[in-house]
């Protein structure tokens, strides 16, 4: 059974210039599907298609047996939640105002979220470790805290599928690990399914080590070069082909943690 599947999906902003072509994959319940690839390979455009922002030129995206474009906005938000890569802050809303927006689809057409929706938002805030932040202005948060707030907003949607576009893009090590811990908790404990794009290859090994079901898709120039477990896909040869780099792959056993890691060494000229 697959929760979300893409069947030969192609998209380009101009007909003669496809960003990606004939992409097919199934995402199974309770797994992380991790899309990795160089800048400009089409990751974000692919994610936009899954979010229904781009309409594919050909192919089909199916969510729980329904064509993605048949879903009403409300139904979409019930099935898929999204954590953006970057967020432009405009008005200094409180943290709770932001998180409760995750309950928008459950709010009647012309109403505001009620107390029960607000308490659900408080729960998700607690789940990301930001209890007590509800009345802070979200414009005054650090980058790491903001990312956690946006994750809490997505959690408040209580959707089965979570889409994260570079969830640790501007974060320090500590916050990167915090986000990774939350991601692995979401999949293992709450049974969510996550589609995630990232540039941090070691995260795939981290999640695998945490006992999360994870598959990696290595994307290059608009198509998948390899799909499989992190160890199968993230090999020196594959990285050489796709990123044009020489790298070293090793294993650490510090802190009793046995985890693979990749160190990029040099560009191939």
């Amino acid at each position: 059974m697959s929760l979300l599947s893409l069947e030969n999906v192609s998209f380009g902003y101009r007909p003669q210039q496809m960003i990606f072509e004939n992409i097919s994959f199934d995402v199974r319940p309770g797994e992380i599907f991790c899309i990795i690839g160089p800048n400009g390979c089409g990751k974000t455009t692919l994610i936009d298609s899954i979010l229904g922002i781009n309409r594919p030129q050909s192919g089909r995206i199916v969510v729980s047996d329904t064509d993605l474009h048949q879903l009403k906005p409300r139904e979409f938000a019930q099935n898929i939640a999204y954590v953006p890569q970057s967020h432009t802050k405009t008005f200094p809303y409180t943290v709770l105002d932001i998180v409760v927006m995750g309950r928008t689809y459950a709010t009647k057409m012309f109403a505001s979220p009620n107390t029960s929706e607000r308490s659900r938002a408080m729960e998700s805030l607690e789940q990301v470790g930001l209890k007590g932040f509800e009345n802070r202005l979200y414009t005054e948060l650090s980058g790491g805290e903001l990312q956690l707030v946006l994750i809490a907003r997505a959690l408040a949607q209580e959707a089965q599928i979570l889409i994260m576009d570079e969830p640790t893009a501007h974060l320090d090590f500590r916050h990167e690990l915090m986000v990774m811990e939350i991601i692995s908790w979401l999949v293992k404990e709450k049974g969510l399914t996550i589609i995630m794009a990232t540039h941090f290859l070691n995260q795939a090994f981290y999640l695998e080590n945490e006992g999360v079901k994870i598959r990696v898709a290595l994307m290059n120039q608009g198509s998948f070069k390899a799909v499989g477990t992190p160890a199968e896909v993230l090999t020196k040869d594959n990285l050489k082909d796709v990123f044009k780099i020489m790298s070293s792959i090793g294993t650490t056993d510090e802190e009793g943690i046995n985890q693979r890691f990749i160190v990029p060494l040099k560009n191939i000229r």
Binding site: A77, F91, Y105, F110
Partner: protein, 337 residues
């Protein structure tokens, strides 16, 4: 906001406009007392003689009461639509005129004055061209069936400048002895038009627009997250944008077609409202309406009392609003932005 603060703020926002409303009726070269107001309103409703002089009841019922009503409506409508546009365009610097409604209405009014010089046609033309300008901006900013914020603003700016040029053309062509002063005075804004009771037809679009914005106010929070996030949060972005633009346009066009171009309200009142109630549009919209009503009533009172004649409202709103805004900015140290 804490429940206690909510109660206090709600009370202030309800009581303040009522105070301003009755206050402005009292003030003027012909002073009337509060009891006079209630007695003459009672007389107006029941037809029983209140024992007041005919002059007093005429000043209250035919001049000041309608004018206070119009001031409250215009202020509330402009402030609510300004707040709505700020949320929609995710920009605290836009105001109710961003999609060209004021420029369009100005052109319509000028056209009616130059062509017909008819007191009934002027607001009709102003309303029609105000709405037309927004429709044109909307289609100018539409790309491939979507209306990205940035192209909408760009469309609005273009349509605004086209209508401004057309206003200049009409001024250039107008008769300098009669029409030009009328056009110029209209463009500076005034509530003096309450002399004709047809003015109250403008309440219809204003009320529809304001109810619409009050009803949509939570959606403004979601829309202010940007198109991409608003969509994934589960709303139909295009439809919601269209509704907000339509309601805000009805409110603004309804106000502008009878008051002329009164600047500043749609820009500063929402900011003052945010200082009071925070940024949740659930509160910002009603608070803006209340404060907008107070502000216009206050400015209009000055317009008709400072000098022997009438000072245009747009001049007073800018002269009061500008410095007051700077004061607030310094006092809050810009923390709300």
């Amino acid at each position: 906001m804490s429940p206690r603060k909510k109660t206090i703020v709600t009370l202030i926002l309800i009581i303040l406009p009522i105070l301003f409303f009755f206050g402005t009726i009292c003030v003027g070269r012909y002073y009337v007392s509060l009891t006079d107001i209630f007695r003459s309103i009672w007389q107006g409703i029941t037809g029983q003689n209140s024992g007041l002089s005919q002059e007093t009841t005429a000043v209250i019922l035919q001049i000041r009461l309608p004018r206070a009503f119009l001031g409250a409506m215009v202020g509330a409508a402009l402030a609510a639509s300004g707040a709505a546009f700020q949320g929609l365009f995710r920009n605290p610097l836009v105001s109710s005129g961003i999609l060209g409604v004021s420029a369009g209405a100005g052109f319509g009014a000028a056209l009616a004055i130059v062509l017909f010089n008819n007191i009934f046609l002027t607001p009709l033309f102003a309303f029609f061209f105000g709405v037309l300008a927004v429709v044109l901006s909307y289609f100018a900013g539409r790309i491939d069936n979507t209306s990205p914020t940035i192209t909408l603003v760009l469309g609005g700016t273009i349509i605004q400048s086209i209508f401004s040029a057309l206003i200049s053309l009409l001024k250039y062509m107008a008769d300098t002895a009669t029409q030009l002063p009328a056009v110029t005075f209209w463009l500076m804004g005034s509530l003096a038009s309450t002399k004709t009771s047809a003015v109250f037809l403008s309440f219809i679009p204003m009320v529809i627009g304001m109810i619409g914005l009050v009803v949509m106010r939570y959606r403004l929070n979601v829309l202010s997250m940007g198109d991409r996030e608003a969509k994934t949060l589960g709303i139909n972005v295009m439809a919601n944008k269209w509704f907000v633009i339509s309601f805000a346009t009805l409110a603004t066009a309804g106000a502008v077609c009878v008051s002329g171009i009164v600047g500043w309200i749609g820009l500063i009142i929402p900011h003052i409202a945010r200082m009071l109630v925070g940024n949740d549009n659930k509160w910002v919209i009603p608070a803006s309406m209340s404060l907008g009503a107070c502000f216009v009533i206050f400015c209009d009172t000055l317009c008709r009392t400072i000098t022997g004649g009438e000072i245009p409202l747009g001049i007073i709103t800018a002269l009061i609003g500008g410095p007051f805004f700077i004061y607030l900015l310094k006092k809050t140290k810009g923390r709300n932005w």
